[in-house]
Chain length 338, copies 2
Amino acid sequence: MSKTVIALDCMGGDHAPEEIVKGAVYAANEDKDMLIKLVGKEERIYEELSKYQYNKDKIEVVNATEVIETGEPPVAAVRTKRDSSLVKCMYMVRKGEADAMVSAGSTGANLVGGHVIIGRMKGVERPPLAPLIPTAKGASLLIDCGANVDARASHLVQFAKMGSVYMENIVGIKNPKVAIVNIGAEEEKGNALVKETYPLLEQLEEINFIGNIEARDIPKGKADVIVCDAFVGNVILKLYEGVADVLIKKIKGSMMSSLKTKIGALLIKKSLKKTLKGFSLEEHGGAPLLGLNGLLVKTHGSSKYIEIKNSILQCAAFNESDINNKFKEKLSLESKED
Amino acid sequence: MSKTVIALDCMGGDHAPEEIVKGAVYAANEDKDMLIKLVGKEERIYEELSKYQYNKDKIEVVNATEVIETGEPPVAAVRTKRDSSLVKCMYMVRKGEADAMVSAGSTGANLVGGHVIIGRMKGVERPPLAPLIPTAKGASLLIDCGANVDARASHLVQFAKMGSVYMENIVGIKNPKVAIVNIGAEEEKGNALVKETYPLLEQLEEINFIGNIEARDIPKGKADVIVCDAFVGNVILKLYEGVADVLIKKIKGSMMSSLKTKIGALLIKKSLKKTLKGFSLEEHGGAPLLGLNGLLVKTHGSSKYIEIKNSILQCAAFNESDINNKFKEKLSLESKED
């Protein structure tokens, strides 16, 4: 397999371009056969690059004069800002000048551009956005958290299959457990969508379907692939973040409440920091938008260099493991792409 | 207003009847004008009561020979076990022998029996189950978390009104902020249900509608009344519990990882315990099923006596504040009940 080429949107995210470029430098210094194309305002990118020693064989700069801001209406932004770093990355993937791309920019613009510019694999009804979320056991894939609200049962069936391939091949979980989010453990529970989807998932021999999962069991790591529609997925993803944030703030507050607790806090600080890092959403890299003609990894807007680096390395693994062909097999699609 | 009579299902929940009876004893010793009718196997109830000193004017025992177990199919259980403690409580409310009831028993049986036996207030389309959830600022009402999946926009509008009345009159939040759960802060976002409901809520002059709330802002306490369909509400409620459980377990684990951290843990233990208690779902008492001809408060299956006591006291406040008449005003219903 040839070298993986990754287009990196250097102007998207809260810490662009500083942390994005730094992430690329760190990724380039890892032992992976890849080329990272840094896309954005070239003078800014070179300015950042000048701060580091890096492997020059693995980094190239591609100029893009425009920037899509977080608040911009996605469709209009993607349509009009043809020379933005984000849109340019997408065309590079579309034309085969890159195999994959990473962006910390606007989620909306990434989803819209992913569909419209990069395009869906033939036979994929709705490409899902599928972040890894931390659990007591490691991480689970939450599929879908994208913009596919009002999903149909056939979409959820594809999510289950693609999620299963992803967890097995990228994360390395053998025979991953697949479950559908529901409001009870019993088969007969649920809203219309879940009731329609459940028997379809139960019939699939190619995935390890374990039935319903209640939201309380998601953080316990009861399933490896968590299937739901994007509205529910979005609620799960954001509530994870919200509950953890508030709880950690409260716990830290309680540790600062007296001299005694402050001394206690000093003693546990290092160990606690390590634990909390392991339970952070950022720790697991970006979320792939699956089922496109190429790979798009969307990282958090707040991404620092570590997450950018991890997302770039995730792209390298994606190409190595030939995921898109495995999707085709699992989805029983023809090998031709549209 | 006359004395509030509360029927207590003494046989429902993981710690029945011990903790249920103990909760009644503690509630009876508070200075509230009420009568608690303890419903269940009378010999067991008297056995528990014999352990305590209590105000005999405020406690009565009503025999019920059957028990509905947690796993039983709700409809069949409610229909066939007429002499169960749960069904008996419901008939007492229906017949006016009690104003309100509290149960830690099967959620399904509570919801079914609430609708079928106690009955809806005239004009209420779907009685919502509305627990208080902890936030950084105190608590918010999550409405609906019941069995009303596949809700319609008109249901959500009623939830918003009833939730607003409840927070203002029971919890004492002046002009409570009402928001609808969505996947973005912008008005145009959402699934079909939310898009249909949003403009209806915006038009209401009688509530303080502040727009969409993203799940990450729920734990921050950005809104007092969180409106959503029961599927989403159930996911929110259970994920709250799940994330907090796993995170607290991980934090405790990190505190036990070395001698140094163990000493640190000893110093912060008391303060931390207080903080975590304040962020626990149990702390806020049970969840009312609103819009019935009487009040049903469903408490957690795992309820200990404190939650039972708080739920009983919540019923006393419910009657005092004449909530059901306030619902009728807000929902513009006739005063006649069906």
